[in-house]
Symmetry: C2
Subunit: 253 residues, 2 copies
């Protein structure tokens, strides 16, 4: 029996991602972390540090997907609005929690004391469980199917250690990538479409051209499947297709 597909959404929170100040890298890091444990990212959104925008997005996504992962907005400053917005989205109270306060208390020494601002990072919605932060200590949290993590990439990645074991994965989708230098998408489009159709959803195919004019161009052909045998057959089909157009297939993954 084929395993069920487990789908997730990612919600990136922060003015800096929309203003162009900051290049997001968390979406890709999360997708790469989730794929091998059988959780597929089906949608992502980026919203500003505006409580209403966070509430609307969280409620839309948590109803639709198995898991929601948020990044950003859980620090000590006034623009960190995520924790309160998550509480509002779930309709539960939020307050400083003693176990979270104890974590911060142990971390902050007299040189940088646990002041009122830092104590905001111990505000946790009722019913949530903490997510350990091995980098800067201030915890994330899980409430229902929503995992609330930091936006700073090194901290977000650190928190994933305490997230992975909580997830129930499904079918693991693996990919095979074939690189074809000098090939153009339009030369293989019809044949690729036929492969997609013949695979009847067991394998899906993607085509990603690259351009480095004037001397280098080509296309990456990617097959994705939860069925290892079907994937290998698809990779062989792609290699033959590339050869039939006079290019040299290079398996890159």
């Amino acid at each position: 029996m084929p395993q069920r597909q487990v789908k997730a959404a990612i919600l990136l929170i922060g003015d800096e991602l929309l203003s162009g100040r900051t290049q997001d890298v968390n979406l890709q890091a999360l997708a790469k972390f989730l794929a091998p444990i059988g959780v597929q990212v089906a949608e992502a959104r980026v919203v500003a540090d505006i409580p209403e925008a966070i509430v609307v997005a969280v409620n839309a996504l948590r109803a639709r997907y198995d898991y929601v992962f948020t990044t950003g907005g859980i620090g000590p400053t006034h623009d960190d609005k995520t924790a309160d917005a998550i509480a509002a989205a779930f309709g539960v109270p939020i307050d400083v929690r003693e176990d979270a306060r104890a974590i911060l208390q142990a971390h902050y020494k007299s040189a940088s004391p646990l002041n009122e601002a830092r104590l905001r990072m111990a505000r946790i919605p009722e019913g949530a469980s903490l997510i350990a932060n091995p980098v800067s200590k201030a915890p994330g949290f899980q409430l229902g199917n929503v995992f609330v993590m930091a936006g700073v990439p090194s901290i977000m990645r650190g928190m994933l250690e305490d997230v992975g074991h909580r997830l129930e994965g499904g079918a693991v989708v693996r990919t095979a990538t074939l690189r074809a230098k000098g090939l153009r998408e339009g030369d293989i489009a019809a044949a690729l479409g036929e492969l997609e159709e013949a695979a009847d959803g067991v394998v899906t195919f993607g085509s990603y051209p690259w351009f480095s004019p004037p001397d280098s161009f080509g296309v990456h052909l990617v097959a994705r499947s939860a069925d290892a045998d079907a994937l290998e057959k698809a990779a062989a089909d792609l290699a033959r297709l590339i050869e039939s157009r006079g290019a040299e297939p290079e398996r890159s993954e």
Copy 2:
């Protein structure tokens, strides 16, 4: 009289962005292009190459924002579903259009002929205007307040040349960034919150910590405003705040 705020949404389309295969760079490039012409990115979404997902997202965003910019899914292969989805979202027919066909015809030589697959790139929803593509010729298009562009970053940036002059911008939000090495967010959070409150929406403040353990950490403080005088005052306030905590403010933008 203050100029009105013009808000945009960005819709990034492509399985490869959600699988982790590809690191998106178009969101930041678009935000940086739009900011100086007075168009603020208020929301972004990433969806897979699934027509229904594209339709739902486009219709949600075009109703809510002044402009919507999409990237991805307008090539010649079977996974390029954006043009048809946009037509479906607007409820208009789509077919090969003669001016778009002529552009492709002039470009494709006998070595890589204008076959049926490539001709798909001339499928344009009824009522749209073409967006010139100086890189690989296949055009994007504008339909209503929606601008449909390529996903390959160099091509997307090329298309922006033919997009900028069509936009009616509003208030230009400028930023001032002050870098404070060795400062922690929690030490300035309360004072920063007071600045935000006193600015009463004319200036907004953001705080972005960085960590490169063990030796380097600090925070970037960013002020944003459409009012140049208010922005300069805010930058001076931030510099004083940083100095008052024993750090050296560096203006970085």
